[in-house]
């Protein structure tokens, strides 16, 4: 793995980890019964105090556009987003 690819993977992992912890804390406020306080390691202050609040302020549509612009989605790698409409009925292949 190249250094750039490794760094992109690390950034994604960190961002997802801290966003998930924040989301779990929100859900725990609504469902405190049968859940436990998640373990929080030391450090990660930038992610918790800067990244997560900033990320949450941005509307979802803007996030989606930014992710596409930063090539974080698969469209540039030969994938097409699904139409999400009922498909054509199956027909047998023509001989």
């Amino acid at each position: 793995m190249s250094r750039l690819a490794a760094e992109r993977a690390r950034l994604r992992e960190q961002a997802e980890h801290h966003l998930r912890i924040a989301a779990m804390e929100d859900l725990r406020r609504r469902h405190s019964q049968g859940t436990y306080a998640p373990y929080k390691p030391r450090g990660g202050w930038f992610w918790r105090l800067v990244f997560v609040p900033l990320y949450r302020r941005v509307p979802w549509e803007a996030k989606q556009k930014a992710m596409r612009a930063m090539r974080m989605t698969a469209e540039g790698n030969g994938w097409t987003p699904p139409a999400r409409t009922p498909g054509e009925p199956w027909r047998p292949p023509q001989p």
Binding site: A5, H31, T35, V58, W60, R68, T73, P82
Partner: protein, 458 residues
């Protein structure tokens, strides 16, 4: 001249790639290389043999090497591929170079290892190879206390089954509830109860700091203190086994998996990849994900094999229906739950309902809880979770497919369903949830008129 296809890896993706390629083009010479002694067995069944629900490991085998040989495959068992040279079109195995015209990489995954002191002690077990699993089963005969590290799907199945076996089980994870990366807390709660009933002690919100012992593990050092144990089963994340492919120059994406297109083609001419070694986009967000199920690996292998043999098949972005038995309780879902939607900052409206799996008076009827997440405005389904007894798997498969086709809460509220007392109740739990969700939205709209239904703040 006969073309030669080499498939590296003998898991679900590798086997399906090789057999499909041979079926599409019977003239193709197909060679499959695997480092293991066995092939075509279900590693996902191992926890259930440990738990005694499946009597013998031999029951997990689905086919034999001889059968694949008789189907015309060139099976290279216990043969490790040590190098791939894409420029020359060769692989190296047992110090021999072998040429290929086409290559499919299905090298699967390795388990994430805990990065803490003592991780190399004896007594730490990883579940993958069936022969090692058979040996470990004998070890389990002589132990009383097991620590299961990682509340992943495998961890949950393992803890529940070892509890069923009568062992004292300590289940350790940093998260606030089991399966916290996909599951929501309201669905996790009955899972906790079910595991506890099976004798599993939950240590959630607890980090593993190390493994304690001289040569052999005797305790797990955690943020909550030492937990004594005889053996440890590590059930952390799957890590794509890309070492061979990246050394050959194939690109990896942000998940660490190999990048492929919708034909399972890598960036190199004549090279495909499939299974746990690759990443594929989520159907809703198009963000690449990995670490999916055996059925995903199998379908990807079929796509890669067919295309390598000259066909033209595409693989769709995934909506990830999933499900498992946790203790005595069945849970499942697809796409996203509230946890993931909240983490991503994706707005959603909720629709929740409870129904029964059969006619209420019929023996064996169980309660089925359905939670649906829909896009505000269009009310197209974006995710959901289902839990209860029977019928969870079928509902999650159906919901994933319907979401892929753009079905809305309105569609589900007025869906048709089977009514037959032994197999289905008059009111379908999915329809109940959708009707409740629409009623709630109407109530919200009446209270605060607005052009579109308001979203649950993410």
């Amino acid at each position: 001249m006969t073309e030669r296809l080499i498939v590296i890896g003998g898991g679900g993706a590798g086997i399906s790639a090789a057999t499909t390629a041979k079926r599409v083009d019977p003239d193709l010479k197909v060679s499959l290389y695997t480092e293991f002694e066995d092939i075509a067995y279900s590693p996902c069944g191992i926890p259930f043999v440990y738990g005694g629900e499946i009597p013998r490991f031999e029951d997990l085998f689905l086919s034999t090497v001889d059968r694949y040989v008789s189907d015309g495959l060139d099976m290279r068992m216990e043969t490790v591929v040590t190098d791939v040279d894409l420029d020359r079109g060769t692989i190296t195995a047992r110090n021999q170079h072998e040429g290929f015209d086409k290559l499919i990489v299905c090298t699967g995954f390795v388990w994430e290892q805990p990065d803490v002191p003592g991780a190399n002690l004896e007594g730490l077990h990883y579940v993958k190879n069936i022969r090692k699993a058979m040996e470990f089963d004998k070890v389990l005969e002589s132990v009383k206390t097991v620590a299961v590290v990682g509340a992943t799907p495998l961890g949950v199945e393992m803890a529940g089954n070892l509890g069923h076996r009568g062992l004292e089980v300590h289940f350790i994870d940093e998260g606030p509830w089991v399966l916290h990366e996909v599951l929501d807390p309201d669905v996790a709660e009955p899972v906790h109860e079910s595991l506890t009933k099976r004798g599993v002690t939950l240590h959630l919100g607890t980090a593993v700091h190390g493994f304690v012992g001289d040569e052999r593990v005797r305790a797990v050092a955690t943020s909550g203190g030492e937990i004594a144990c005889d053996v440890v089963i590590v059930c952390l994340h799957k890590v794509p086994n890309t070492a061979l492919a990246t050394a050959a120059g194939l690109a990896v994406g942000t998940t660490g998996g190999l990048v492929v297109d919708d034909h399972m083609r890598t960036g190199a001419e004549g090279v495909w990849a499939a299974g746990d070694v690759i990443e594929v986009p989520h159907g809703l967000t198009m963000i690449p994900i990995r670490g999916l199920t055996g059925s995903h690996a199998y379908a990807q292998g079929r796509t890669a094999g067919a295309n390598a043999a000259g066909d033209d098949r595409t693989y769709d972005p995934v909506w990830v229906p999933w499900g498992l038995v946790a203790g005595d309780y069945t849970i499942g879902g697809f796409s996203l739950g509230e946890t993931l939607a909240g983490a991503m900052g994706m707005p959603y409206v909720l629709a929740k309902g409870v129904g029964v799996s059969r006619a209420r008076y019929f023996p064996g009827a169980t309660r089925t809880h359905v939670k649906l997440l829909a896009e505000p405005g269009t009310l197209k389904l974006i995710g959901g979770q289902v839990h209860g007894g029977e019928g969870v798997k079928e509902r999650c498969d159906f919901l994933a497919f319907a979401a892929k086709r753009g079905a809305t809460l309105e569609d589900f509220a007025w869906m048709e369903n089977i009514y037959s007392p032994p197999i289905g109740a008059l009111f379908e739990p999915i329809a109940i949830a959708a009707q409740n969700g629409l009623a709630e939205l109407r109530k919200q709209a009446a209270a605060a008129p607005s052009p579109a239904p308001s979203a649950v703040p993410a």
